[in-house]
């Protein structure tokens, strides 16, 4: 459910506070996005998604209490889960395949420029542009 302005309502789940802040700043600088929630672990991510019903979940993988792969599994037990873009420091093919097989629509490595993230996330939500796998 987008905002009245049509912005993509986004939740950011990452246990690194400073990274979460930087990603939020990058998205809030882009009119296409509205950050409606943040989470520092997987359990909190599920709670925030249930409360906010966002258009997009940006999801880290290595997190305390519940990791990103567990979140992906639990999300797809819900009716109409949001599209999930995994944003992770892990770049090995097996991890990417696993995340995609669990329902992520895209997998973006944390080494990508932060200025590229809004375009990548927007493409993942609309289903056009970048394909679902590791872009670039």
């Amino acid at each position: 459910m987008t905002t009245a302005s049509g912005a993509i309502r986004t939740v950011i789940a990452d246990d690194a506070d400073d990274l979460r802040t930087l990603i939020r700043l990058a998205l809030e600088n882009d009119a296409r996005f509205s950050v409606v929630g943040e989470a520092a672990d997987g359990e909190e991510a599920l709670s925030v998604v249930d409360a906010e019903r966002p258009d997009l979940l940006v999801l880290d993988l290595a997190m305390p209490r519940m990791d990103g792969l567990e979140v992906l599994t639990r999300l797809h037990e819900r009716f109409e889960p949001p599209p999930v873009v995994v944003l992770s420091g892990f770049t090995n093919a097996a991890m990417i395949d696993r995340a995609m097989s669990l329902g992520a629509v895209a997998y973006v490595p944390k080494g990508r420029d932060i200025t590229d993230l809004p375009d990548l996330f927007a493409a993942a939500v609309t289903g056009g542009g970048a394909d679902g796998t590791l872009a670039g």
């Binding site: 690194a16 400073d18 990274l19 930087l22 990603i23 700043l25 990058a26 290595a62 420091g89 892990f90 944390k110 080494g111 420029d113 932060i114 200025t115």
Partner: protein
């Protein structure tokens, strides 16, 4: 075939036999307890059988008593090998006594085969060798000196050496089957140990990969993102923090392996 060919052949032959690796304490204790219980059951059973067969009580008492002493020793002596040896001698003496009490009944000799199989549960050459040596000594001495107490048919009584050899052949067959089973159990145990070690190493590697991700990768990403958003101070803080965490991680990893503190332990394979 030169010396190297013999060595290859010898190695192949040796590989067929078990190495005799010690069992774990819990496994060994469990098996030894069962074997000692079996020996005590025989003490009771042979005593009753001897009475039924009409043997004098003193005669029976001495023979069964000797086995009881061995079974007691098997529970009381200190070392594994002493315990296993006493238990083995107790059991194989039961075989000999059964043959004696039955006046050489051929079916009683089957008990020797069972005892050889039971003794291989120790997965050790000493008790196994003791059992085989006892069978050879029993058939080769008692069988020759008093053949009617060991055999119950004229052919064997008249040719005790020949029939000792025939019995020996079959006991050897049973022994070889027991050894093969022991060897396969050893190999299975080795494979399980290797799999457990690989799993342990994989778990450690995964934990270290996550630690590196959480410290170095996340930290560098934070520094990069901050720099790209124009936050130079934030980028510097992230770099400093990442460097400190990475150095701590290196220290923590190195403390698990003292080799790095010896001359040569820091030698790289190639320049960075």
């Amino acid at each position: 075939m030169g010396a190297s060919g013999l060595t290859v052949g010898g190695r192949r032959l040796a590989a067929w036999f078990p190495a005799g690796r010690p069992l774990g304490d819990a496994t060994w204790q469990q098996r030894h307890r069962s074997i000692v219980v079996l020996a005590w059951l025989h003490v009771g059973g042979l005593g009753v059988y001897g009475v039924v067969r009409g043997f004098p009580l003193l005669h029976l008492g001495l023979e069964v008593g000797a086995i009881a002493l061995l079974a007691t020793a098997a529970a009381l002596v200190h070392t594994r090998m002493a315990q296993a040896s006493a238990a083995t001698l107790a059991l194989v003496s039961c075989s000999a006594l059964l043959v004696h009490l039955s006046d050489g009944l051929i079916e009683a000799h089957f008990h020797f085969f069972i005892v050889v199989g039971v003794v291989t549960l120790y997965q050790s050459w000493l008790p196994f060798g003791l059992a085989m040596a006892y069978v050879v000594a029993h058939h080769g001495t008692v069988g020759v000196l008093d053949p009617s107490s060991v055999y119950n048919h004229p052919a064997a009584i008249n040719s005790p050496w020949l029939w000792a050899a025939i019995h020996g052949l079959f006991v050897t067959g049973a022994a070889l089957a027991g050894m093969r089973s022991w060897k396969l159990a050893e190999d299975e145990h080795t494979r399980a140990e290797e799999a457990a070690l690989q799993l342990h190493e994989r778990t450690i590697r995964q934990r270290e990969a996550v630690q590196l991700n959480d410290t170095v990768v996340q930290g560098l990403v934070g520094a990069k993102y901050a720099a790209q958003l124009g936050d130079a101070e934030g980028a510097q803080r992230a770099i400093d923090r990442t460097l400190a965490l990475a150095q701590q991680l290196v220290s923590d990893l190195m403390s698990e392996d003292d080799k790095h503190f010896e001359p040569g332990g820091l030698r790289r394979e190639a320049a960075v």
